[in-house]
Symmetry: C2
Subunit: 768 residues, 2 copies
């Protein structure tokens, strides 16, 4: 691993000592967010060293003009990107005329960062000697409020240690911000108003092209030794900048503090309402409460989240820290209250991947949100795709499909495709399968069929139409084939008959036809509406059935396994264990063609199918496929170890399962992929949760019942987690080889434990 | 076809009437070049309408920073591009204070362009009424001298028709030029000196990064009614511009003429010598001769070229014009005197494709140059690759190959790869085969083995090493396979076992091993040198042989043909004839994935192999493969029709052969691909020549003898061509169904005619 400087701690992420080389990594690791906005852990005061500034507003994006080397027909004109938003956290700090800048201080000691996940705040403390010889003690605490999600708060304290001094705080707003990853160096923001009203300041800016209106705002108060001072500020206004300058004499050992409240109001949430007025309201609420009371509300809000979603692990503090970090970041990124939002691969911690929605949401994130939140949250995530159905149909039309066939985009912000690599954009079409699977998975878990009859069936029909049209009848094979695809393993491009894709396609069609039948029988009114809207006919469903019933699956007789794709056995099948270690990771060491013709697998592909459709196969089948494919898997995708951990646990290979678990849970904390400075891997964090709950805990839905088959890695004394199952909460505690269950609810519930029924009564501890 | 405005004429390209919509197309079609430089047919005077300015210097390129959407390991950092060079042709023309600008004239009549291919000059004449009411007659003649290849000459004549006027000529040089296709809007030129010395002006500029020094220069003389006037000019000098302004009173009906000589001197040709001095020398030669004498030398030089390379066709003026246009452009682009130069796909007529060297040179151009020039020219083209061998080895190393394996670049200026599409750059590796084939082809035609023993064998070894390492042993097939390639048909990417690639690979290895053996036996000294230099061992050649002997070739029993690649028969095999015409051309109508999974073939792929290795297969084999593949071929590459024309002729399908011939020979003149304004398709023009000589003429080398099997399309009365065979010239005349042969040489020569020997004596006409 690249970096390993985070202190092991059950509830906090802690860095001790200042290392300029770690600044960008720590900016990622100590990121904070509240679902509505988020930011990297940039310093408030100026920092002249190497840094990656980032502040982001949920759902506010910019369609950056596509940049490609060689244009292919069908490419989208734009790539919707998460926007680096105006900066509201900035505070210039000047002591006796010299700026506080950790890059120029002559001495820094006791530097410590803490991200307190239990309470939802981030702090930084240090002692520093400025170039002018003044030594100061600095303590900063910052959080983004869950209570008022347009508000963030900063308490910035300075204590001079070796002299009486004059401290200047100059909090500011700055909308002269560019994305690091702009394709053409375009300006994304147009600032229309910069103003100060009393102690408050506002910058109105809208995004170019998308015209999201935003108001970035701040209000600050100065305290000297804990008492509010009324000193007026000097105000400076520029084109994209406003600051309020507070000057305070501070005696040696005395403490001056600036409390800065800031954040964003956005037209997405306020319609045509006045965003400055909305900002004033938010500021009024925040300042009336004050920093401490707002922080207390923050602690309470996080306590509520943890009450439901915490996973405890005893006997292994690094594993404990890992899973909490994952759960914490998922909750910082997405809280499920807004069906227009989704979960970007980097959340609010960086720009990579454009910050948009991938199939990660359906394949990895929905189970976490389904089991740890109200089921409305998962439904909101499903509805997000329903809302984009028309765009998915248009996307398929661009690629030559017709009659309502829907291809969901690989990457999107608003339903439009915005990726532009032909082998991904046009060919990694299995994403459609994950979107259909999530509908099935949601109903399986929640028992809520209303989503299918009201919305989901239309999505399923669009997807089934796509697969029917996308399959080709091979006269040679006398079966349907699917040519030219990229499977989940992106280390293969443009292959024929990727087993996972073919299997998923067949399943999607069958499932859609079953639901069409069920809705016809049980929800006649919905059926009539959907038939009218989609124009689906019996002859079309017959065509679909023909494809599903006659789908070709590549298979090796010799190895008795399904083949990842046609021709897989032509490869030189040298396992990863026999691969020279200097060649790893292959995505950094090898040219693309070499990767493609190698047998190496980036992430579960056939095994992803065995994960989704587990009950279609025997354990012996799974074992055979695991033994065949895992040895070729390099796990160079963050989404790989979790699925393998779950399957290794199922196969009772607990050491391997544990190793995969650590790799997924501490991927960012230990920076396995040497790229944490670009931001965190948010979506794979949901896979970490699955590794424990579905892997070690063995949670499944079997015959409409919650089912467990708990196992425990020998490194752990015990672990526990909770699952919200149909509005009742089941707490699972696994200790040694025993599992006990507590039902928090009002109705008795029968679950399965290792296949046997176990009756749970409310508030009782049950075990077999 | 898109445009069809060029008048049919046996020797000239003629446009009549001014149409703003055609300006850019005509700028391509009327391009002139002399091997050392070339330029689009831009107007000398200012033109405010839509135009694509282009002037190019052979071998002067710029490594533009690569632009891609998604970086892949192994991509080159730079794409070497032909440079749009400083403009020396510009002449501002002002009549009574109003600029002559065809875009603003109130009336234009008698507009006519002629590109006189026989004599190598380009002229433009028209009458125009300026916005100030003055009507003028204008006649311009321009050529790039073959005699002094650093010199171009322009005679620009103005005759006022309705008043006495004052004409201002302001010839200028301008180095403030950018490429249209710059990736990052970079400046490619750095101008270091702008100066006037007497009647001459010079701009010294060097290219950024590559540091090619150039001097762009001019000298002008004014004539009034044929008499030289001594009026001094007013000089203007700016950062990247210099002009000389001549003012002349002209009576109604009188003619004022400006003779402008200009061009480039380049450090490539003058080393560290003073380029301004070199320019002065060139100008002195040119002005001493004067416009008319220089033009007379031009006529003579072109007469010499035509004497050898002309093809006559009687009874079909469009076919005649087509072939001469192709031969003319090839000679304008490359004259074969400099082994550092090569033939870019657009020659000097545009920027597309970067202007670099592709496999087109070996696959299509070498036969033309071999048969119409001294054999040194073809040898120079081969030596170009020998000179780049070390770079090809480095290129292969970047992709993970070792031990001297060589992968020649897909696109290059200096031997380094500069393309950046993984499916082409890394996978269209069959280019290596064409480079080896050209060595074989050169020896077969010229009988000059010295290239192989002196240089070629090293190239062959590097290529054979590449194929041996690139092949993979498939346990499943118990044969060697080649995975992940793009064949000549670029409408398939990343396929396994492209038959053409596998066949070529096998042949390359076998041929290299045979030559190694032959050199060992017959050129012991060369053998020793090469073994030492390359380190080739018996164990390595055994490995190579193992691969060649056990190569896998995909084949269909049902259709009794080789398959283009594994899985080809899974496609929906609807022929082009049955494809909805609104879907053509598919490369404009379909998304890339749809093209890839279709059966449609961009250009000969299996059939390219049947072309190269014709004598490995029977005519029945060819027919079977032609009948199987041609119906799926959309010919959307300029390189496609020629090969099909040759094979159709061989199969006695003369109508089809003729149709393909017209398509290849008039591709640009009739703008089949609707893109002629971007420049001409230079390399495919050599294919046109092949269609006649190898297709209709049936020229081959059989048992070391020149062999013909002439056929004639029914649309033609007769045709003739000449072939330079081993320093003697064979003139072939085909009339009706008879062919006659004239030997221009000193030694009798036996050729084969339809497989039977025919003895030719010098200067006699022979027939069977």
């Amino acid at each position: 691993m690249n970096q390993d400087y985070i202190k092991a701690d059950a509830w906090s992420i802690i860095e001790e000592g200042f290392d300029k080389e770690q600044v960008k990594s720590s900016e990622s690791l100590f990121s904070i967010g509240n679902g509505a906005m988020g930011q990297r852990a940039n310093f408030e005061e100026r920092y002249s060293g190497d840094t990656f500034q980032g502040s982001y507003i949920a759902g506010v994006y910019y369609p950056d003009k596509t940049r490609v080397g060689w244009w292919k027909n069908g490419y989208p004109e734009y790539f919707a990107k998460v926007l680096n938003a105006p900066n509201w956290i900035g505070i210039d700090v000047v002591v006796n005329g010299t700026a506080l800048d950790l890059n120029s201080c002559t001495e820094i000691s006791d530097f410590r960062r803490e991200l307190n996940m239990k309470e939802g705040w981030y702090s930084r403390t240090f002692r520093a000697t400025l170039p002018n010889g003044i030594a100061v003690q600095v303590a900063v605490t910052r959080f983004l409020s869950l209570e008022i999600d347009e508000i963030g708060a900063i308490a910035f304290e300075v204590t001079p240690l070796n002299d009486d001094v004059e401290v200047v705080f100059e909090p500011y707003l700055d909308s002269g911000i560019k994305n690091h990853d702009t394709n053409w160096d375009d300006q994304f923001w147009n600032t229309t108003k910069v103003t100060s009203i009393g102690a408050q300041a506002f910058i109105a800016a809208h995004t170019m092209k998308t015209n999201f209106d935003t108001c970035t705002f701040m209000e600050s108060k100065v305290y000297y030794n804990g008492r509010h001072t009324d000193t007026p500020s000097e105000k400076t206004t520029k084109d994209t900048y406003v600051s309020h300058r507070y000057t305070q004499k501070v005696s040696q050992g005395g403490t001056v503090a600036l409390h800065k409240f800031g954040g964003y109001t956005v037209s997405r949430n306020h319609g045509t309402g006045d965003l400055i007025e909305a900002a004033q309201e938010a500021l009024q609420k925040a300042t009336e409460l004050g920093f401490e009371s707002l922080l207390e509300l923050q602690r309470n809000a996080w306590a509520t989240i943890w009450e439901m979603s915490d996973i405890t692990i005893s006997g292994d503090v690094k594993a404990q820290q890992g899973i909490r970090f994952n759960i914490f970041q998922l909750n910082q990124t997405y809280l499920g209250t807004d069906s227009r939002l989704n979960i970007g691969p980097k959340g609010f911690t960086g720009e990579k991947y454009g910050g948009s929605t991938y199939w990660d949401t359906e394949a990895y994130c929905i189970p976490f949100y389904m089991a740890t939140k109200d089921q409305k949250v998962a439904r909101n995530l499903l509805q997000y795709r329903y809302n984009h159905l028309q765009k998915a149909i248009e996307n398929a039309e661009k690629l030559g499909f017709s009659n309502g066939a829907a291809l969901y985009p690989m990457v999107t912000m608003n339903g439009e495709e915005c990726h532009n690599e032909w082998e991904i954009t046009f060919e990694e079409i299995h994403r459609n399968g994950a979107i259909a699977f999530a509908i099935y998975n949601y109903y399986r878990f929640t028992g809520d069929y209303s989503y299918i009859s009201e919305m989901g069936l239309e999505v399923l029909i669009g997807i089934a139409r796509f697969w029917q049209q996308r399959a080709t009848f091979s006269k040679d094979k006398d079966q349907y084939v699917i040519l030219g695809v990229t499977g989940p393993n992106e280390y293969e491009n443009n292959v024929n008959n990727n087993w996972y894709t073919n299997y998923t396609a067949k399943w999607c069609i069958s499932y859609a036809l079953e639901q069409l039948q069920k809705v016809k029988e049980e929800y006649a009114q919905d059926h009539a509406r959907i038939v009218t809207k989609t124009g689906i006919t019996d002859s079309e469903t017959a065509l679909m059935k023909e494809v599903a019933d006659n789908m070709y699956f590549p298979r090796s007789k010799e190895h008795d396994v399904f083949l990842q794709q046609d021709g897989f056995l032509d490869k030189e099948l040298i396992t990863v264990a026999d691969l020279d270690k200097t060649q790893r990771p292959i995505n950094q060491k090898w040219s693309w063609d070499r990767i493609l013709r190698s047998p190496y697998i980036k992430q579960a592909d056939v095994l992803q199918g065995f994960y989704f459709f587990e009950d279609h196969f025997t354990v012996e089948d799974l074992e055979k496929h695991f033994d065949f494919y895992e040895p070729f898997t390099v796990h160079e995708s963050s989404l790989s170890p979790c699925v393998h951990s779950i399957q290794a646990a199922k196969l009772d290979r607990m050491d391997q399962a544990y190793e995969f678990y650590l790799r997924t849970s501490r991927l960012d904390l230990d920076d396995y992929n040497k790229e944490v400075e670009e931001g965190l891997h948010i979506t794979s964090m949901a896979g970490t949760w699955m590794s424990i709950v579905e892997g070690f805990g063995g949670m499944r839905i079997v015959d409409d019942m919650l089912s467990f088959a708990p196992k425990i890695p020998e490194q752990w004394e015990s672990y526990s987690f909770k699952v919200n199952f149909r509005d009742q909460i089941v707490k699972v505690m696994v200790e040694n080889q025993e599992a006990s269950f507590t039902l928090e609810g009002t109705r008795p519930l029968t679950i399965l434990l290792h296949g046997k029924p176990l009756h749970l009564n409310p508030e009782e501890v049950s075990t077999l």
